[in-house]
């Protein structure tokens, strides 16, 4: 079990250039749990994630870890506690899987010192967890979308942080790979106690995989808590504007959102 760091965003107001996207958001990330941020496009979920992962400097308010403002912690030191997988990282041309995963070791490496035993072990462990050891010497270009995403997550794992932020890690993936990635992240959380915070588009996968959900609407936090407690048709209606009904997922028992739409309803008379 990894050590716990109380991670909080206090009264965050943030955005890009002149546009303010988040308005006075307070968030406290539960340690050793999987938290998922949901909300409609443009509601500020990515902005919140990026602000917490210190990619965006908030206009006001601050993000703290163990009570200490993150902008006061040296960047490399912070990177040993807090990892990030951006939505669209860049693959350098001709890079191999092992080289890419190895780049996650940057915050642990000293100037001009070669690779340590810990570096090698962290990389091989990360590749094992993500099931990509067999691809170690392959070029990233040769891999499928799902395999690539596993390589990126392995890079973030090699960083060996207690907290891992992921910005839409399942976007552009087929449903099979989405489930595979989320299962692997759950393994990681259960086995090592890594605190995971991510933005997901799919509300039903969010409800199944999250221990804790943060629901954003127009730059404000409107609800948070266990999926079974907060994912209701009225919440979904208020944040997505979607008329829906919520049932229990027959596999996991978690809430499952079913859109109603204007056609196809067998229950039209009753609804």
């Amino acid at each position: 079990m990894k050590s716990t760091h109380a991670f909080k965003a206090d009264h965050i107001t943030a955005g890009y250039d002149q546009t303010t996207i988040l308005h006075d958001v307070n968030v406290s990330i539960p340690s050793n749990k999987i938290s998922i941020i949901i909300g409609a496009n443009g509601c500020g979920k990515s902005t919140l994630l990026k602000t917490m992962a210190r990619l965006i400097k908030p206009v006001s308010g601050q993000v703290t870890i163990g009570g200490k403002p993150i902008h006061k912690i040296p960047s490399k030191q912070l990177a040993r506690v807090l990892g990030l997988l951006p939505q669209t990282p860049i693959v350098p041309e001709g890079i191999t899987v092992a080289d890419l995963v190895g780049r996650g070791r940057f915050p642990h490496q000293k100037f001009l010192k070669g690779w340590s035993k810990e570096d090698y072990e962290a990389v091989s462990e990360a590749m094992e967890i993500m099931n990509i050891t067999e691809f170690a010497d392959r070029h990233i270009d040769e891999l499928s979308g799902g395999q690539r995403q596993r390589v990126w997550i392995a890079m973030a794992l090699a960083q060996q942080t207690d907290i891992l932020f992921l910005d839409e890690p399942t976007t552009y993936l087929d449903i099979t790979y989405q489930v595979e990635i989320l299962d692997l992240l759950t393994d990681l959380n259960r086995k090592y106690g890594t605190t995971i915070v991510m933005v997901l588009h799919d509300i039903n996968l969010s409800a199944r995989y999250a221990d804790h959900i943060f629901a954003l609407h127009e730059g404000q936090l409107v609800a948070e808590g266990q999926p079974s407690k907060i994912v209701t048709s009225s919440l979904i209606e208020s944040i997505f504007g979607l008329h829906c009904t919520v049932i229990n997922d027959p596999i996991s028992g978690s809430p499952y959102v079913i859109p109603i739409g204007r056609h196809h309803s067998k229950l039209r008379k009753h609804s």
Partner: protein
């Protein structure tokens, strides 16, 4: 952890072909040394090279010719290494495979300042050229970066290259405008402008050394962080890199190396592009290895071009800048086509 995985792990540290490539480079480097000493308006044989290098008491004409070529040879290697590393740094900072000092307009800026120095301040020595070139290169780099970072999204690679190309075109015409009415400047400038290492002597070497050392140290120290930057700005920040500071330092190193080379040898294009691409193609993108190998490959390419220029231009010589442009232009087109296909 079993033995097999340990040996596998060693490979992750250094790219697979690193040792082979290093040996090959050193062999080619040796051939370049010999060729650069042997060829010229007068071709000398092996014995005379040996006499020239190791028997200072032998005073034959051939041996003296070899001795005269030693400085030029070393100077050529230094220019090539500086341009190779400069290319690697600027490509990393802009995250653009075709970023070369000549494409970003940096050496045109250096050239403009040298021409202004010659025309308006009567400068005439290499040590004065250096400071003018450095000032011109830095101002141009800041200018290009400033224009490139305007608007949304900051300094994207595409905007940087467009800004560089436009600036470079504008500055070239300024150079012409200043130079053409002044025939004396033109004479002095003409030889310098084409790019030649023939002017290299022990003085230029000793002027060059401190700048070369500073630039190389910057390159070596920033390589690991530049590796992180290659994954994108967000990923790099996530890995703990202060991207702004890193860009500033690495760009300064790249501009410094290019500016000083330009001051001493004239604008020599494409070396930064050729040197790094050959290396990347063989060992991949890890800059901890690409940077030192680009220094060697830059030195090899420049000295081969120099020797080629001497053979083709015999009994005179063809300046090295002409030769590198001839080799470089078609390769630039190839790389751009490949890069475009990847991007689309």
């Amino acid at each position: 952890m079993n033995d097999l995985s340990v040996t596998e792990q060693k490979q992750w540290h250094a790219p697979k072909n690193f040792i082979k490539l290093l040996i090959l480079s050193l062999v080619l480097f040796g051939i370049c040394v010999v060729a650069s000493l042997a060829f010229g308006s007068r071709i000398v044989g092996w014995n005379e090279i040996m006499n020239g290098l190791f028997h200072p008491d032998v005073e034959t004409h051939g041996a003296n010719v070899v001795r005269q070529r030693i400085a030029r040879t070393i100077f050529g290697f230094m220019c090539g290494a500086a341009l190779g590393v400069s290319g690697a740094l600027l490509q990393s900072v802009t995250r653009n495979p075709i970023a070369d000092p000549s494409i970003l307009g940096v050496n045109t800026g250096a050239a403009l300042f040298v021409v202004c120095g010659i025309s308006f301040f009567n400068i005439g020595s290499a040590s004065q050229y250096i400071w003018f070139a450095l000032a011109g290169a830095i101002i141009t780099a800041i200018f290009v970066y400033g224009i490139g970072s305007m608007g949304r999204g900051g300094a994207t690679p595409l905007k940087l290259v467009l800004a560089g190309a436009a600036t470079s075109a504008a500055l070239s015409s300024l150079v012409m405008a200043i130079m053409i009415p002044r025939s004396s400047v033109m004479d002095q400038f003409r030889f310098w402008q084409v790019g030649s290492v023939g002017a290299g002597n022990w003085d230029s070497i000793s002027l060059f050394i401190p700048f070369l050392v500073v630039g190389m140290l910057i390159a070596i120290f920033t390589a690991p962080a530049l590796n992180a930057l290659a994954l994108g700005d967000e990923a790099a920040k996530g890995l703990g890199v202060s991207t702004g500071t890193l860009r500033l330092i690495a760009a300064f190193g790249g501009v410094l190396l290019c500016a000083v080379t330009t001051a001493l040898a004239g604008p020599i294009g494409f070396i930064g592009l050729l040197a790094t691409h050959v290396i990347r193609l063989i060992i991949g993108p890890d800059l901890r290895f690409v940077i030192p190998l680009s220094a060697i490959s830059g030195a090899i390419i420049l000295s081969m071009s120099d020797v080629t220029g001497r053979i083709l231009g015999s009994p005179g010589e063809l300046e090295v800048g002409v030769v590198t442009a001839f080799i470089g232009a078609p390769i630039l087109i190839l790389i751009t086509m490949k890069a475009k296909m990847r991007a689309l």
